[in-house]
């Protein structure tokens, strides 16, 4: 990690994005004081993760990427054993409530090894939440789930974490859009973007349009239209047009097509592309950035 510096106010849900190997998991492991940073400091609710590790760990719930569980334990037994680590009062009540909230009721008497992936993920969430932590750190909580389970887990996180500070990592853009108020993108251990969802979307700026005509347009003329940054033909009669700024080009393009005697068969803004475009743009390895990355210090 290289000069990573951020602060998350209480109650915020923050998405941590980055390509594989960018340092998302390492950041989380340092925040949970599993790995010690070689330099720098981190505090959870005011407790330093190195000097005051036990206190800071008490404040947080953690779901590691692989969701490791003791597969030979029963769900209820496992959650009770986790509760014992935190010396909870009324651990039994708390565990029963967690089982209910995470929808594990029908599976609670089973061995964890017998559960489906979706239910295991629920157990993973339950163990992270059993002591009602203020901070929740979730490393790719929805990876490897089928679409139904994915929606279920997402709803669960949003529902259970309403009063908590959440840091979650993912590669799925829709997930960030659905759950997070703020996004941080890291690349090669550095923070390359840190903004609210709305601001980042605005930054995404450039409107892309997919167009299809009834015959081949005059490509050269199309590129000449003011406000168009690039034209990327998909076949002889379809193209992706990128605007130079945030201006809506739909009417301009429609009028142009009519003038040229073309019929527009299709014109749409590709859904969910915006953030992905930003993501790709920010995490592309810039040749000029190599000087900066050569003296970066990895803390792992």
């Amino acid at each position: 990690m290289d000069g990573l510096n951020f602060q998350i106010p209480g109650g915020q849900v923050v998405g941590l994005l980055g390509p594989n190997g960018a340092g998302k998991s390492t950041t989380m492991k340092m925040l949970t004081s599993y790995l010690a940073p070689s330099s720098g400091k981190a505090r959870i609710c005011g407790h330093d993760v190195v000097e005051n590790a036990l206190e800071s760990r008490r404040m947080l719930g953690y779901l590691p990427e692989s969701n490791p569980l003791y597969t030979d334990m029963y769900v209820r037994e496992y959650l009770l054993s986790v509760a014992a680590y935190y010396r909870l009062d009324q651990a039994r009540n708390r565990v029963e409530r967690m089982i209910e909230q995470t929808g594990l009721g029908p599976e609670a008497h089973k061995r964890i090894g017998q559960l489906s992936k979706g239910y295991r993920q629920r157990v993973g969430l339950a163990q992270a939440l059993v002591h009602d932590p203020k901070v929740l750190i979730l490393d790719e909580p929805t990876s490897g789930l089928d679409p139904n389970q994915l929606v279920g887990i997402r709803e669960l996180i949003v529902g259970l974490a309403s009063d908590k500070t959440v840091l979650l990592s993912t590669h799925i853009m829709q997930e960030v859009e659905a759950m997070c108020q703020r996004v941080m993108i890291i690349h090669q251990g550095r923070l390359v973007a840190d903004d609210t969802m709305a601001a980042l979307k605005a930054h995404a700026g450039r409107v892309r349009l997919e167009l299809e005509w009834d015959q081949e347009p005059n490509w050269a003329a199309l590129k000449q239209i003011p406000g168009i940054a690039s034209v990327d033909p998909r076949d002889s009669r379809a193209a992706v047009v990128e605007a130079a700024d945030e201006k809506d080009l739909r009417s301009v393009l429609f009028d142009w097509s009519v003038q040229e005697g073309l019929r527009v068969l299709r014109m749409e803004v590709p859904a969910g592309r915006n953030l992905e475009a930003v993501f790709r743009e920010l995490t592309r390895t810039i040749p000029g950035g190599q000087a900066a990355s050569s003296h970066q210090s990895k803390a792992s």
Binding site: Y34, Y70, Y86, R87
Partner: protein, 242 residues
Amino acid sequence: MWAVLRREWNGFLNSLVAYIAMVVFLLITGLFIWVFPDYSILEFGYAQLDQLFVIGPWVLMFLVPAVTMRFFSEEKRSGTAELLFTRPLSDWSIVTGKFLAGWALVAFSVLPTLCYVFALYMLAEPTGNIDSGGIAGSYLGLMLLGGVFVGIGTWASAVTDHPVVSFVLGVFVCFFMYAAFDSLRFLPLSNTTLLVLEQLGIGAHFESMSKGVIDFRDLVYFVTVTLFFFFWTRTNLQSRTW
């Protein structure tokens, strides 16, 4: 620490490891004490339990690493270590919890052999004419030796993420600590060196305890060796290189 201990112990009970260890220990020592004619008390004619304390360490040498081999290696392998080490528990309390669970299992295996003591007590002529001091010392020695073995086994499970490697390593180090130092007397070394080397092994200290002499120095030896492996275990775990 208690939470770790309890989880491990419940794991032993649920997976039947505890009962199997107890039965195996009871059975093997029982065979040697009562059945095999070369060793049997009934054939031998003296009301003493030496066989138990000769065979016991050898059985524990395999039993303890078999039980402890999963302690940390399995946690590392399955990734649960990452959760365990992010709980509000110090590394010490995790190691201590696991160690105590292993030691409790040794006690659980060894204590049922007290029925042999009772049988011997009844068989002795006249009844009750047994060396109770020697037997008590031997039991204490066996428990302390079990403690050292659990320490070694815990350490062995912390250095690798393969339970089988941990088992083999554990057995080897236990064997080395128990028997190898005694065998060094055949080396062409000065007498003082040999004496020091012998004192480094478990054998010499265990033997003096078996005689019923509870020497403070022997106690110190067992505690020191156990703590040594404790420290080493913690150092291994702190590196987090898995």
